[in-house]
Symmetry: C2
Subunit: 338 residues, 2 copies
């Protein structure tokens, strides 16, 4: 078995109280001499304090729970990276929960995290259902949303303003001289990342006087934001419209899907068709041609979410939300029209 504080005390001929004081660096309460003695005993025994026991008495586990729908997604993993960074810096650890977008698994995890007495929750990238919210609220620890938000439930979030970002992407296309622009979007029923981006797209068209009175804006909507969705939607777009000169894809993966399909159709990007993405994932710079896109500062968002959470853990107050800045990353998939 692992040595306990008792073993150390015995070994150093002092009481466990003294060992504890030294362990916790409570400055006063022991002499330099006994300190050395105890440290030596610790060394010899290879003693490591038991965080579980500590957690019990202090009622603090120095652990937070982090839930994401899919780690293997490049967006999620960047967020996680940021979260872990500050969590570790602040001396806490993260229990990682991959929910696989399953309601059951999410609830299951929330329960688990409650029992493990995590001190905070970061919930990322998916819709916060009532059941999730109830479960989180019941835990009575701070929580923050990242890359998502909830209209209904009052939880602080950190994300980019999707509508603004989509507006910026569309405006970029317009400023480059494009007039006939289509959008490849996620699900319009998706209140978090679907509709707002569509709204931003439409609003830009309107503001720049590109919305025709006689027709709906060209948005091709799918269910998700995947590469496959991009392919499908792009195929539909090409079948339906022939005079489009630029497309705004609601995610980088969709944009890559569109580019891939365009390539197979012998449509040259950006010469014949311009494409702008959304996210600025690593793949966007790896694309051929490198993808112009609107950046979400994912790692920074992860970091900020963690910082917000720790703030809440200290003050007890439920913090404010944070809108992170988006930014157009100009690469080579958008052509300047004369």
């Amino acid at each position: 078995m692992k040595p306990t504080i008792k073993d150390v005390a015995r070994h150093a001929n002092v009481s466990i109280a003294t060992v504890s004081r030294i362990l916790n660096q409570t400055s006063v309460g022991y002499s330099k001499k006994t300190e050395k003695l105890v440290m030596q005993a610790i060394e010899e025994l290879g003693y490591r304090p038991n965080a579980v026991a500590r957690g019990l008495i202090n009622n603090k586990t120095q652990t937070i729970g982090v839930l994401f729908p899919d780690v293997s997604g490049m967006l999620t993993s960047e967020l996680l990276y940021g979260v872990e960074e500050v969590t570790h810096r602040l001396g806490h650890s993260v229990i990682f929960c991959n929910t696989s977008s399953s309601g059951e698994k999410t609830l299951d995890y929330l329960q688990l995290l409650s029992e493990k007495r995590v001190e905070g929750i970061i919930f990322g990238s998916s819709f916060l259902t009532d059941a999730y919210y109830e479960a989180i609220a019941a835990m009575n620890v701070p929580a923050v949303l990242v890359s998502t938000k909830s209209q209904k439930h009052q939880l602080p979030y950190v994300k980019v303003d999707d509508k603004d970002a989509a507006y910026a992407a569309t405006a970029h296309l317009i400023k480059k001289g494009h007039r006939r622009i289509a959008m490849l979007s996620g699900n319009p029923a998706d209140i978090v990342a679907g509709k707002p981006r569509i709204d931003g797209f439409k609003e830009a068209l309107l503001d720049f006087g590109l919305a025709r009175i006689d027709e709906e804006p060209l948005v091709f909507a799918g269910n998700g934001f995947s590469y496959e969705d991009g392919r499908d939607l792009f195929t539909r777009l090409i079948k339906a419209e022939s005079d489009v000169t630029a497309v705004f894809a609601a995610s980088d993966e969709m944009a890559i899907g569109a580019m891939s399909t365009a390539y197979q159709m012998n449509i040259r990007v950006p010469d014949e068709l311009s494409i702008i993405g959304y996210d600025n994932l690593k793949i966007s710079e790896m694309a051929i041609p490198p993808l112009t896109t609107v950046e979400q500062p994912l790692r920074a968002m992860g970091r900020k979410a963690a910082e917000l959470l720790f703030e809440g853990m200290e003050t007890g107050a439920t913090g404010k939300s944070i809108i992170m800045p988006h930014r157009i990353i100009e690469r080579q998939s958008v052509k300047q029209l004369v």
Copy 2:
């Protein structure tokens, strides 16, 4: 404060011992009637057992530690996905540790995991230094390596055979009619993923009678396996050799880097030059053209590693290692030469 077992006991007019029995479903020791009573109290109070207290008395935390150098890497995140999958299925949780390839942070984490009394360790994708090994050994819990191995230290691992896989990739190129083949490799000093792949490449050349007596095989070695490395190495390759018809890149990212650079140099893939990658990351199917590559079953590897670990945690025996199968995924970046 959260209700404790005491509160439940009081609320139900029974002893905490009885509550505990019911909580743990120790079948016998209580009547149907009191069970209902207790369950009702639990419900009313919203009681959740405290896993910390449980962990203390049972000396079991139901959590494992998982260390990876970089979650945001697509390879790592797939492994993590697999690990989490079975860990959760088996009722445990994972404390996720992103080491950022820093020795200090790794050691720091190992210490932390030791204090948090995790029941097992999964160490992924990086070189196991002596210091890491010592730290792990000192924890006295099972550990398994994934996507890496150690010659020096005796820890079970799960990975594909890099040499065999590299051999297969090279052989594929040869079977497609290529004779003049170059390799873009990682660091030859990297005993885990660098040298073995180079060896596999060379051996295939030899076996198929393609190694010229008067010259070294064409391997262009860098330091890592990144997109940038791929670009740099490919540039060097093109400057040095003009008659190569195919290249084997030691990672998909490198392959994409090479393809990107080739595109800019106006070298057409696969018409003028064939490229095969290694890993089968998601990006490989998104590439233009879709990348032929040798697959590592990453999620399955993650799963297997976790299974192995849990086996070790139950039996106490340090398990065997597992070589996972690799497989050529044929897509469109390799041309059949006549």
